[in-house]
């Protein structure tokens, strides 16, 4: 479904991604884990077209998207829930969701119902300005908004960041559920333990390079991983 081939990304002089290659197959949950500043966010930004790669290529469902800009990718079935949520702070919850269906307006009504089903908390706050939502509420909104475009591949950047334990569980449940209903997921997480639990496969990123890859279970039981990311 998604194939990233040898990309190199720079921020000015800083070489942030070095020869990253990864693949996501249809109906998979792939986790991308790594410490702070490893380059996880950069990878997602590059895939979704917000950043350019110097070399290499990115293919989505057989189509070369290396040079396609972010806004064109949404209708190709890619949705990206960015780190830090980036909800529209001055818009209401409802308006945020409507924006999510920008390329998919026919789905607006049903989509909102669906999102409210998944996140009942948002339903109560549908007319609240998103800027005043709590962190967790904003995360739910960001995910809900991404779902409004009915993506085939959903990229999530640290969705559990700052969430209450009960909500982390919920978010991961939702991801599993989404996956079951046919959405492919590329998940970036610091919470390696939870991520590896639900991931089919995972890549470990360190200082801009892929350091390890394997199935979720393999990695979860790898000593190296345990030491570095699972606090073991």
């Amino acid at each position: 479904m998604l194939k990233v081939d040898n990309i190199n990304v720079y921020y000015g002089q800083i070489h942030a991604l070095k020869d990253i290659s990864l693949e996501v197959h249809p109906d998979e949950i792939v986790a991308l884990i790594g410490a702070n500043g490893a380059g996880k966010t950069t990878t997602l930004h590059t895939i979704s077209g917000l950043l350019r790669t110097k070399t290499g290529s990115i293919t989505l469902m057989g189509e070369d998207i290396t040079h396609i800009k972010a806004d064109k990718l949404v209708s190709k079935g890619l949705a990206h829930v960015p780190e830090g949520r980036h909800v529209f702070l001055q818009m209401t919850v409802q308006e945020n969701l409507e924006m999510g269906a920008y390329t998919n307006s026919a789905y607006t009504k049903d989509g909102i119902l669906d999102v409210f089903n998944r996140f009942p908390r948002l339903k109560h706050r549908r007319n609240q300005i998103a800027g005043t939502l709590s962190g967790g509420e904003q995360q739910m909104l960001a995910m809900g908004r991404a779902l409004m475009s009915q993506p085939k591949l959903l990229m999530l950047d640290e969705p559990s960041m700052g969430l209450a334990p009960i909500l982390v569980q919920q978010i991961f449940d939702i991801i599993t559920e989404l996956h079951k209903s046919g959405t492919t997921v590329l998940l970036v997480e610091q919470n390696a333990e939870m991520a590896l639990q639900i991931a089919d496969r995972a890549y470990v990123l360190e200082s801009g390079r892929i350091k390890l890859s394997g199935t979720g279970k393999e990695l979860a039981s790898s000593d190296e991983i345990k030491k570095a990311y699972l606090g073991g």
Partner: protein, 289 residues
């Protein structure tokens, strides 16, 4: 007034004077945003050298409590006493001078300044330089600056960051930024420090180090710490008293053990699965980030 931690608490600090009045007290504190009551009827107390936890689901009003305590928001109801003195009608800066320092949920460093200068800004009210000194660099400027540098370095050293002193704060790795924010807050010589999700975005080993640091802060500076955290491992391990908020209201108060087994808290916050995990893998990570 109900104490957050029933006195005498199961204090791990033997010399703590349980007979002294608490450093921080709030009295039926509440704030409304338009129609929304974000915090309601909050009454709690924090002991002089206590490590207290404030937990609760997202949007429960935890950060809002911190904002009330530091007068970023003015309360709609109730009042706050710091060491027996009301903080109402004070500005955030004045409240800091009275003895409350804090960190922020989303890091707020002075990104363009050096690490050292960030701490020196924290030392602001303790540095004796009036405008004439600032403008002329005479009248003992060198001496005060030297003192400030030394003090700031001490704080950095406390967190093992002295070697980063001249880097721009914005270029630090995430974990170091969090530590720097705490160092800056400590530099204001507070009697209580409020930490808003200090472990967010940290990996388990960083979190373990942070826990250690929080204890050292209390022991070393003899101040109270109040923290908000979603990382139950951290909270349950280092907090002596915990207060759980939901929908702006206190739903439980007590020691970590009491909180862990409180069904209301499990229902509203911890979740069944998590709860089991906390019990099962106690001491091990259940890191949230």
């Amino acid at each position: 007034m109900s104490k957050m931690v029933p006195l005498p608490s199961k204090s791990i600090v033997p010399e703590r004077d349980v007979n002294k009045p608490p450093i921080l007290e709030t009295n039926h504190l509440g704030i409304d945003f338009g129609g929304l009551t974000a915090v309601d009827d909050l009454t709690l107390a924090v002991g002089r050298t206590e490590i207290a936890g404030l937990i609760g689901p997202n949007g429960a009003g935890k950060t809002t409590v911190f904002n009330l305590l530091t007068n970023v928001y003015q309360p709609t109801r109730g009042d706050i006493m710091l060491d027996g003195v009301s903080t109402s009608k004070k500005s955030t800066a004045q409240v800091n001078k009275m003895g409350i320092a804090r960190t922020f949920q989303n890091i707020r460093l002075f990104g363009h300044m050096s690490v050292l200068d960030n701490v020196k800004v924290g030392l602001h009210n303790l540095t004796k330089e009036n405008l004439a000194v600032c403008l002329t660099h005479l009248f003992g400027y060198r001496k005060t600056e030297k003192q400030a540098n030394e003090q700031a370095l001490e704080y950095l050293d406390f967190f093992g960051m002295a070697d980063m002193a001249n880097f721009p704060a914005g270029s630090l790795p995430y974990g170091a930024q969090r530590r720097l924010e705490i160092a800056r807050a400590l530099a204001t010589k507070p009697s209580i420090i409020l930490l808003d999700e200090p472990a967010a975005g940290m990996n388990p080993s960083e979190t373990a180090e942070l826990m250690n640091n929080i204890r050292r802060i209390r022991d070393n500076f003899q101040i109270a710490v109040m923290l908000i955290e979603h990382d139950m491992n951290l909270v349950m391990n280092i907090c002596e008293g915990i207060c759980v908020l939901d929908h702006g209201k206190v739903i439980a108060k007590g020691t970590p053990d009491e909180i862990k087994s409180n069904p209301t808290v499990i229902e509203a916050y911890l979740g069944k699965k998590n709860d089991k995990k906390v019990e099962a893998k106690e001491g091990e990570t259940n890191a949230e980030s």
